[in-house]
Amino acid sequence: MSDAALLKKPWQSMARQRDAGTFGIWVFLASEMLFFGALILTYTVYRVSDPAAFTAAARETDIWYGTINTAILLTSSLTMAVAVQASTAALGFRRLIVACLSLTVALGVAFLVVKGFEYKEDIEHHLVPGLHFALAQPAAQIFFALYWVLTGVHAIHLTIGLGLVSRLALLIWRRKLVFDDNPEIEVTGLYWHLVDIIWIFLYPLIYLPGRAS
């Protein structure tokens, strides 16, 4: 478990390598904030121009699927955080790290399964913009266009995260990767948490409007 096994070119020390890796992912996450921010801004612009149609459309979404998925993702952030902190503690928490990473993957898959059932219902309820759309207001179609794009792009991000986390879980389980203080785990964790944060903001914008009226 020496640092030499983890140290990669061009860095001369693990501290430098870790700093560069985490700084790099934060820069990437900042660009991701702007990417999703632009889509949420589009949502905002259309919502302020026709608030009634947006609340009517949002009421058509299934709040239970949305809420359960929010709870699932928040829990996956817990297991991811424990995995990362177990790694940086550098105390040989191999089983804990593998268990937490596997749980994170399981929760991520559960999220996608729930989303799949929700998509199926949405399609059955004619909530895909175009011919035979369920609602009369034109802006309701814009809401659902944004719904499909935002949740779809989020699901792609989550799927990428699943690939990264299961890779780590598999390699550490098979003892092919140093797990103590490995920056790869921390960097992957930061990405996973961002995918959770995006959903934290999508939840009140997609599922909560129009419930009280």
């Binding site: 700084f23 996450l29 900042a30 921010g37 902190q85 503690a89 804990l96 203080d181 948490h193 909560l208």
Partner: protein, 103 residues
């Protein structure tokens, strides 16, 4: 090899306790935002929902992503994303909202 030997030994239970508390807070906030969505507060519903969302995101960023313990460089990188997001929203909405209220 690692410079962590002088810190008190962490156990798996310590890790679950610390992070479990944050998770419990996130779950309470989720229940809160769900309940508030059904209270008729008119225009206040959306700001409340987004405020609770921002609090949840803050907990994740500050404690799960450990920005609280990160170097200034990483905090700056995260803040940069937020600053440019604010610029994008402010400039766009200044235009859109001004047009909306003229006709």
């Amino acid at each position: 090899m690692t410079a962590k030997s002088e810190t008190p030994t962490k156990t798996a239970r310590d890790l679950w306790r610390r992070n479990g508390l944050i998770w419990a807070a996130l779950m309470v906030l989720l229940a809160l935002t769900l309940s508030f969505a059904y209270v008729p507060l008119g225009a206040a519903n959306t700001p409340i929902a987004l405020g609770i969302g921002a609090t949840k995101a803050g907990l994740v960023v500050w404690l799960f992503m450990e920005l609280a313990k990160s170097s200034a460089l990483k905090r700056l990188a995260a803040a940069t994303g937020l600053v440019w997001l604010c610029v994008m929203f402010t400039l766009t909405l200044a235009d859109v909202l001004a047009r909306l209220h003229t006709h």
